[in-house]
Amino acid sequence: MSYDVIIGLEVHVQLQTQTKVFCGCSTAFNPQAPNTQTCPTCLGLPGALPVLNKKAFELAVQTAMGLNCEIPLFTKWDRKQYFYPDLPKGYQISQYDLPFSRNGHLDIPPATDGDTPIRVRILRAHLEEDAGKNLHDESGRGAGSMIDLNRAGTPLVEIVTEPDLRNAMSARRFLEELRLLLVYLGVSDCNMQEGSLRCDANVNLHVHGPDGTKIPTPIVEVKNLNSFRFTEQAIEFEVARQWEQYQKTGQTIHDAPKVTRGFDPDRGMTYALREKEEAADYRYFPDPDLVPVTVTEEQLSLWRSRLVESPASRRERFRQEYGLSLYDAQVILDQGVLFADYFEQVASQTKDGKQAANWLTQEVQRVLNDRRWTLTEFPFPAPALGHLLSLVSTKKITGKSAKDVFNLLVEGDEPEVVTSETIDATIAERGLALVEDTGAIDMAIADVIGRNPKAVQDFRSGKQAAAGALIGQVMKAVKGADPQSVRERLLKQLEG
């Protein structure tokens, strides 16, 4: 007997706003100062009125556009009622039947050149407010739990996928692509340590019945996975556990309700969360405190026009236009928008994507890492690097000299911003320019041959090594000659 694994994800993404979604409290991550970023609105005090943060809505729409979602022209706010200590109002402001976006997709990029992307459909994305944070008393006195409401009211986009994922690794790779997209769009910092991106995974199996039918097993929702690795581990564990369970009990989706489980990263296991006595009943209804939001086609097309290019589109362009391998394209994309922009500037100037990619992933990254510079602090602007690399490809200097010039110009505590002029000056100063005057080189070769009859004799009698000494003398005579070209011309004269 075999089975398919069916996985759907719900991802909560914290939007990068200064203030909360319905009040002016700061969203700064500030666990050292609990309960200092609250007000009557996010505390749920009577009489306080929520007002929508315009920026939060715009970022949410950009997120949905990046996920290729439809954006309806009308959306509204609903209350999701439940009691939990970190939810001061007794309800969460969310969106129920008319979310601001639906029906999108995100493709998981191919793992290797030649593979095809995997499409994951997005059911919907809606905007809602986050809850506060529970802290558990670790004194062991069992005094109670402590609540910090600094996070209560932080804007979240909840992204719900269709159950299109078929294994744990795809789930992780989907999340990686999603994070890359969100970072490129600039809508979230996706800082997982600070809880800016959290994931719930719905997992079950479709067991292949003997008559070709598929038997779905009960759905398990693993809650609050705060790392991609944990998500992958939790799904792997669930698949094994559910398969064992099915073989033991034969329970199908019709025999048992959906259950929720937590994940213990230390043991790499999921565990049952205490079941509520009855199915969740959130009694959603429209929030009378908040008016609906309408957008126009014009507004949407304006926003769409301002949307930055997606990593998927760039990845494809890097391969098509600049001839990069999937691997190199990914290494560059993973360094962020600025790095990818820098690459494109250099590559479009030099018309040699592979050379630019090699330099960026080796020389440039090494210096950025060693010096702990961000790209904005890096003293070598793209046009200057483009100039330097062009000198190599047009054989004005050797690759080795280019690296020397590069290292020289980024030396020191606060090196000056490099320009094409400083590069040319450094090359002149150090005598690194390759001499193109073939007449001068040929004269020097003739001269050296004339003065070294013994070495010439050795070479002609088969001692290849003798050429080395002669090349060295020519190089000394003509400073800056390309050793490769000297070698070729010398051999020609010796053999001619």
């Binding site: 009040c23 008319l98 069992g142």
Partner: protein, 97 residues
């Protein structure tokens, strides 16, 4: 429309209200009356009428993303039944859900 005792118990449980037998009986009758009153609206012909999502004919009320002063912590905590000077304190929570 008449609500059963079971309906009332469920609604009470969801609202975390503890009701005794007499309460349940009383509320079942009263809530049924309220529903009956609201049911008058069902007589209205709504064919072809757009559903109304909000009582106020307004849309797009925004605020800019600008930080306003939050409450001092002591004020934020002052009405809570229990606090430790920094946090709201609640009975021990066992599971995150």
């Amino acid at each position: 429309m008449s609500l059963s005792a079971k309906d009332v118990e469920k609604v009470a449980r969801l609202a975390r209200l503890r009701l005794n037998e007499t309460d349940i009986e009383q509320y079942a009758a009263q809530l049924s009356q309220i529903l009956d009153y609201a049911a008058i609206l069902e007589a209205v012909e709504t064919e072809g009428v757009e559903p109304m999502v909000h009582a106020i004919e307004l849309a797009n009320v925004w605020r800019e993303d600008e930080i306003l002063t939050s409450l001092p912590r002591q004020q934020a905590l002052q009405n809570s039944p229990a606090q430790d000077g920094k946090h709201f304190v609640v009975p021990q929570i066992l599971d995150a859900s």
